[in-house]
Amino acid sequence: MTAEHVLFFVFGAVSLIGAISVISFRHPIYSALSLIVTFFAQAGLFVLLGAHFVAAVQVIVYAGAIMVLFLFVIMLLNLGTLSAKSALKGKLKGLAVVLGVLLAIQGVYIAMTAGTDTALESAQASTEVVTTYKIGELLFSKYLLPFEVTSLILLAALIGVIVLVKRENQAEN
């Protein structure tokens, strides 16, 4: 058991427990807070994988910006009283759990066999830490077009949100 093993199992257990809490808490606020725990644990896993910049972005963008948006909307809609019967009941829930377990078995099987895949087996896992310099260089050369398209997507989202909210105001007036 190396330190990496220990850290992996700690972060992995925390992220799994957080994820299960997300789908089992009744109140959406608790789900959102559990999701933040999961995101932090995943940032730890990214550090273990040598992706320090991704870990930082994970904390800043996901645990910071996106979750603040979630919490803001939950509080804005005041959903605490509405979420009492927000889960499937009876047979449908049983069916969903059975299908979910089947999917988990498939996913774990594929992941276990991926370790013996020839392409992955022949490659030597790189232990070097990826620097921000390298990421930036690649982002502005090989991935320049996707980068620009991403900016267009964000612009479209910005305009879309404004339009959605604005139309609502006019309907009320």
Binding site: L16, S86, V101
Partner: protein, 103 residues
């Protein structure tokens, strides 16, 4: 000796499954959105793990994570705006009760 890629892939598969289960079981639109975020994060973990285990010197997998994050941010902003306007019309965000396209 570093940890094998299959550990991260198994964890990623489990997180993805929990996200799918959440979408199937929960009827609250906001929690369904959170579960979609869980699934995207599981995919991100797989991207970074595979990128490292392939031993390439370029961090291509990590760049895909950035694009996924940007799309997720846009998706969350639009989705929550839709949820807010649905809530204003229907006074509920239970996806079983929001079943008609017209008001």
């Amino acid at each position: 000796m570093s940890l094998g890629v299959e550990y991260y892939l198994v964890l990623s598969a489990l997180l993805f499954t929990i996200g799918v289960l959440g979408v199937l079981i929960r009827r609250n639109a906001i929690i369904i959105f959170m579960c979609i975020e869980l699934m995207l994060n599981a995919a991100n973990l797989a991207f970074v793990a595979i990128n490292r285990s392939l031993g390439s010197s370029d961090p291509d997998g990590q760049l895909f994570v950035f694009f996924v994050m940007a799309v997720a941010a846009a998706e969350v902003a639009i989705g929550l705006a839709i949820i807010v306007s649905v809530f204003k019309h229907k006074k509920t965000i239970n996806v079983d009760e929001v079943n008609s396209l017209k008001g």
